[in-house]
Amino acid sequence: MHSFGYRANALLTFSVTALAFICAISSFSDKFSNQNPSAEIQILNINRLKKQSYGNDEVSLTLDISADLQSLFTWNTKQVFAFVAAEYETSKNSLNQVSLWDVIIPDKEHAKFRIQTSNKYRFIDQGHNLRGREFNLTLHWHVMPKTGKMLADKIIMPGYSLPDAYK
């Protein structure tokens, strides 16, 4: 009953259980944080709207993105992954979401930012539906914790549109 094996076994079981409990509690504490992020996106310029050689429409644009995501950071946060997606509807597809730009925010100091950039990823449609298309720009964020449950949410900003002709 007092051999080394028994004692090691009991110690190991207890420490694993205690560790699991602490991880669950720290994840649960995230529920009590007050979160009110804000963001604003402006389209500075539509650089090009063209039809690719093998068919699909492609857009290149320059965005001005300003956001304050500082309230998302808790003591249990490892990083926040934020990205901007254009969302629109076409005749064939009820929903299209195309990610234009993303960033990894490692800590609270970097969470309030303003950046002007052209789209990091290519905005290509499945077809030729982009002329005159209205779309929403949505800022999504994904809070990745040090341990436990991940949280994702977004701000939808409607009312952007593309030019009526290729340019």
Partner: protein, 180 residues
């Protein structure tokens, strides 16, 4: 020569009933572990409720050796979700983020494009030849929770199988030689 006689005596003295009890206990432990695993599969709706992160393509969020808890619901797949998928012809699941989603009006089916956070390009190069999109049946689950470092046990046991054999051998020896 004396200890050979002792060992033979101790083997003879293991009663059949005790041996059977130990075998049944071992069987019960293994079976209850299996029951818990299958129950987890039912609750989370996916065939692998827990996966280990094997590559560094999602750093710094997920490092090699972390484990992810997965869940699969009927809700549609949207950008930003971290999905675990299998490519036809390969059996290692890949954990990346969906960056593009196109949902058909008529059928509700989705075309999904994924990319690892730490990669520069999207996953088109990883898909099967001629495949441009992932579909729902490729995706095994969405990551909803995460525990760091715990997956290293699995990685070590897979990459150095000798450790697996040593562990199982030691456990087996412990079971046989324990008096109760």
């Amino acid at each position: 020569m004396g200890w050979i006689g002792e060992t033979v005596d101790s083997i003879k003295s293991i009663k059949i009933r005790q041996l059977l009890t130990q075998a049944v206990t071992l069987g019960m432990i293994v079976t209850s572990a299996l029951i818990i695993w299958k129950a987890l599969m039912c609750v989370t709706g996916t065939e692998s409720p827990v996966v280990v992160v094997l590559s560094g393509s999602m750093e710094p969020g997920f490092q090699r050796g972390d484990i992810l808890f997965l869940r699969m619901t009927k809700e549609p797949i949207r950008t930003g979700e971290i999905v675990v998928f299998n490519i036809d012809g390969r059996d290692i699941p890949i954990v990346h983020r969906a960056i593009e989603v196109h949902e058909r009006k008529t059928t509700g089916e989705v075309d999904v494009l994924t990319k690892g956070d730490n990669n520069d390009v999207d996953d088109i190069g990883l898909y099967a030849d001629g495949q441009m999109w992932l579909h729902r049946h490729h995706i095994m689950g969405r990551a909803v929770g995460f525990l760091p470092y715990v997956g290293w046990v699995t990685i070590i046991m897979t990459e150095k199988p000798i450790i697996k054999y040593i562990l199982i051998g030691a456990l087996g020896l412990l079971v046989i030689t324990s008096k109760d």
